[in-house]
C-alpha cells in the first residue's frame, strides 16, 4: 500500500486549494500586521512584549479559523458526496480520519505561526524590546516575554480542544454549519456555564471542560480562577475530555454506514 504521508498531503491540498482558506489567512495576516500599528498609536511607552500580549487578545481568530477548517474536514466530504470515493480506497477508515485530523492540527500550527510570527515581526519594528515598564495588561510579575510565550502555548491547548470538538461534531452530525455553530456556541457559553455551576461552590463544577480551559489562569494564580484547581488537575481533566472526544469521533466514523 502507499504511504500514509500521501494521505496527509491529500488532506492538506483539500485545505489549501480553497479560496476560503486564503481569505482566512489574509484576514489573519492583516490583523497581525495592523494591530501592532494601532497599538503603537494608542499606547505610549509600551514595550514589544506588552504589544504582543495585547495582540493575543485576537487569538480567537486563529482558533475560529481552525474550528472552521476542522468542521469542514469530514462534514464537507459528506455534504459534497466525495466521502464515498474517498472511503473505497485500500485504507482503513481510521487512517483516513487520522490523516484528516493531522491536517487540521498542522493547519492550527500554521495559522498560529503566521499570526504570532507576523505580529512579532511588525511589533519588533515598532516597539522597543527593552522598555517594559508600562505594560497594558498590568498586575503581573515575571517577564512579559515569558508571559507571552506561555499564553500562546495555552491558547494552542485551548484551540486543540476546540477544534477536536468541532472535528467530532463534524463527524457525528456530518454538517459543516452545525459543527461550527455548536463549537462557537460552546466557546461563548462556556463562561456562563462555569458561572452557574461554579467550581468554587460545587465540586462537580471543577470537572467541567470550561472551568479548565484557558490555562493562562494559572499564570497569575497557582490555584486558577476559582482557587480550587491546579494546572496539573486542569491538564488531567482536559486530557480526559480530549480522549473521549477522539474516541467517540473515531468510533462513529468507523461504524457508520455511509449513505450520503
Amino acid at each position: 500500500m502507499s504511504n500514509f504521508f500521501g494521505l496527509i498531503h491529500n488532506e492538506n491540498i483539500k485545505i489549501y486549494a480553497r479560496m476560503r482558506t486564503w481569505v482566512m489567512l489574509g484576514v489573519l495576516a492583516l490583523i497581525a500586521l495592523l494591530m501592532p500599528v494601532l497599538i503603537h498609536f494608542v499606547s505610549e511607552g509600551i514595550g514589544l512584549w506588552s504589544a504582543m500580549n495585547t495582540l493575543l487578545l485576537f487569538s480567537f481568530l486563529p482558533t475560529v479559523f481552525t474550528i472552521a477548517v476542522a468542521a469542514d474536514s469530514a462534514a464537507g466530504e459528506f455534504s459534497r458526496g466525495t466521502i464515498k470515493l474517498l472511503l473505497i480506497r485500500p485504507w482503513s477508515r481510521s487512517k483516513i480520519l487520522l490523516s484528516k485530523y493531522i491536517s487540521v492540527l498542522l493547519f492550527m500550527l500554521a495559522v498560529y505561526a503566521l499570526f504570532a510570527g507576523l505580529g512579532l515581526l511588525m511589533s519588533s519594528l515598532l516597539f522597543d524590546t527593552e522598555s517594559a515598564a508600562n505594560d497594558m495588561i498590568g498586575q503581573l510579575t515575571g517577564s512579559l516575554g515569558d508571559y507571552f510565550w506561555w499564553s500562546l502555548l495555552y491558547r494552542l491547548v485551548d484551540c486543540l480542544i476546540y477544534f477536536t470538538m468541532a472535528f467530532m461534531f463534524s463527524v457525528v452530525f456530518r454538517s459543516n454549519s452545525l459543527a461550527v455553530a455548536l463549537t462557537i456556541i460552546l466557546l461563548f457559553i462556556g463562561d456562563l456555564v462555569t458561572l452557574l455551576i461554579s467550581p468554587e461552590r460545587y465540586e462537580i463544577g471543577r470537572y467541567l471542560l470550561f472551568a479548565n480551559l484557558d490555562l493562562s489562569q494559572y499564570i497569575s494564580s497557582e490555584t486558577g480562577n476559582y482557587g480550587v484547581t491546579t494546572i496539573g488537575f486542569s491538564l488531567a481533566v482536559l486530557a480526559v475530555y480530549y480522549v473521549i472526544f477522539l474516541a467517540l469521533t473515531f468510533w462513529v466514523f468507523r461504524k457508520r454506514d455511509v449513505a450520503a
Binding site: 500500500m1 502507499s2 504511504n3 500521501g6 494521505l7 498531503h9 491529500n10 491540498i13 483539500k14 486549494a17 480553497r18 479560496m19 459534497r80 458526496g81 466525495t82 464515498k84 470515493l85 472511503l87 473505497i88 480506497r89 485500500p90 485504507w91 482503513s92 461504524k255 454506514d257 455511509v258 449513505a259
Partner: protein, 320 residues
C-alpha cells in the same frame, strides 16, 4: 406468450462460467431500522463479464453496491470479492475494486487532474503515465486541467470512470453509469466496458433501472425487486437454429397468405401474418409466399425485449 430465453438456476452462472466468482454474495441481509432492504441475497458474479444488476427504483441496488464497497456493513451474511471478505479483509478486498457509487462527486475546487492525483496518491500502483492513459481513454484531455466545478454532468461521469479504472481494478462497479450521459456518451461507455472485459479481463458490475441499456450492455443480468433476487438470466446467448420465434410477415394480401400456408400455422395480427417458427421455417414461408405471387414487404422477428419480461416479472415496475 412464453419467455424465450432460458432460465438459469439461481445462484450462479450458466455452467459455461470458468474460474472463481469475482464477487460472491453469501446470504446478504441489510436491515435499516425495522425495514429490510436486502433479504438474503445469494449470488455469484462470474469473471470477465459485464454483469447487470437490474431493478426498479427502491429495489435495493444502491444499498447492495454500498455494501460491496464497504460503505455500508451488511446486517448478516458476507460479500467476498476476489476471495477477500469486504467486512473482514476490507483493504485487500477493496484494492481489487474500482467504483462509482451513485453520482461521481468530485472536489469541484480542484481540477480533474488534481482529483485523479488524489486517488493515485492513495495507492502505490498508479504511476504518472497511467493517469495520462485514463485521461486519454475517457477523452478528457482538453479539459483535465480545468476545475471540476466547470464540468458538465457528462464530463463528471467520464472523470468518475477515470478514477474508477485508474488502478486497473479486477472488478469495476458502476451505479447507474448512464445517468447524465448523452446518447454518444452512453455508446462510448458501452463500447468501453466491452473493451475492458475483453482486453483486461475486468469484471464489470453495472446497476441500472434502464432495461434497454442493460440489454445492450450486459452478458448476464440479475434482477432484483424489493430486496430479493428474482431472476438471473443470460443475454446475448446465440439463438440456435431450432429456436422458434414469433415472426411477422408484412404482405400485401394477408388473408390469402394465411389460407395458402394453412390456418393452423399462424394468426393475423395488426394486418400482418404472425407465425411461430425457426430460421429454416422463415425462409420456407417466404419462398412459398413469393412463389404464390404474394408480395412480401418485410419479415421481422418479434423477440420480446427484456423490458417486457422485466415488467411482467416485477408486476409492471410496481415499487413494493
Amino acid at each position: 406468450m412464453e419467455i424465450i430465453s432460458d432460465k438459469i438456476p439461481i445462484p450462479g452462472g450458466s455452467g459455461k462460467t470458468v474460474g472463481e466468482p469475482v464477487v460472491r454474495f453469501d446470504n446478504v441481509v441489510k436491515r435499516i431500522g425495522r425495514k429490510t432492504i436486502i433479504e438474503g441475497l445469494t449470488l455469484d458474479v462470474p469473471p470477465g463479464q459485464v454483469y447487470g444488476f437490474l431493478g426498479p427504483n427502491g429495489s435495493g441496488k444502491t444499498t447492495t453496491i454500498r455494501m460491496m464497497t464497504g460503505l455500508m456493513a451488511p446486517s448478516a451474511g458476507d460479500i467476498i470479492i476476489c476471495g477477500h471478505s469486504i467486512t473482514g479483509q476490507f483493504e485487500q478486498a477493496i484494492s481489487q475494486v474500482g467504483a462509482i457509487v451513485e453520482n461521481p462527486e468530485m472536489y469541484g475546487y480542484l481540477s480533474g487532474y488534481q482529483n485523479l492525483l488524489q486517488y493515485a496518491r492513495m495507492r502505490s500502483d498508479v504511476p504518472k503515465e497511467r493517469i495520462g492513459e485514463v485521461i486519454r481513454f475517457t477523452g478528457l484531455e482538453h479539459r483535465i486541467h480545468d476545475k471540476v466545478s466547470t464540468y458538465s454532468l457528462g464530463m463528471r461521469q467520464r472523470l468518475g470512470v477515470a478514477q474508477a479504472i485508474l488502478h486497473r481494478p479486477k472488478l469495476l462497479i458502476l451505479d447507474e453509469p448512464t445517468n447524465g450521459l448523452d446518447p454518444q456518451g452512453i455508446r462510448e461507455l458501452r463500447d468501453y466496458l466491452r473493451e475492458l472485459t475483453r482486453s483486461e479481463g475486468t469484471t464489470v458490475f453495472v446497476s441500472s433501472h434502464l432495461l434497454s441499456e442493460m440489454e445492450l450492455m450486459c452478458d448476464t443480468v440479475a434482477i432484483i425487486q424489493a430486496g430479493r433476487l428474482i431472476d438471473v438470466r443470460e443475454l446475448h446467448s446465440e439463438a440456435d437454429a431450432d429456436t422458434t420465434v414469433e415472426t411477422a410477415f408484412d404482405v400485401d394480401r394477408v388473408e390469402e397468405a394465411l389460407v395458402l400456408l394453412g390456418e393452423e400455422i399462424g394468426i393475423i395480427r395488426d394486418g400482418r401474418l404472425v407465425v411461430r417458427t425457426n430460421r429454416q421455417g422463415i425462409a420456407e414461408i417466404n419462398m412459398r409466399l413469393v412463389q404464390a405471387g404474394i408480395a412480401v414487404y418485410g419479415i421481422r422477428t418479434l423477440t420480446r425485449s427484456l423490458e417486457d419480461q422485466f415488467l411482467e416479472m416485477t408486476g409492471g415496475g410496481h415499487i413494493v
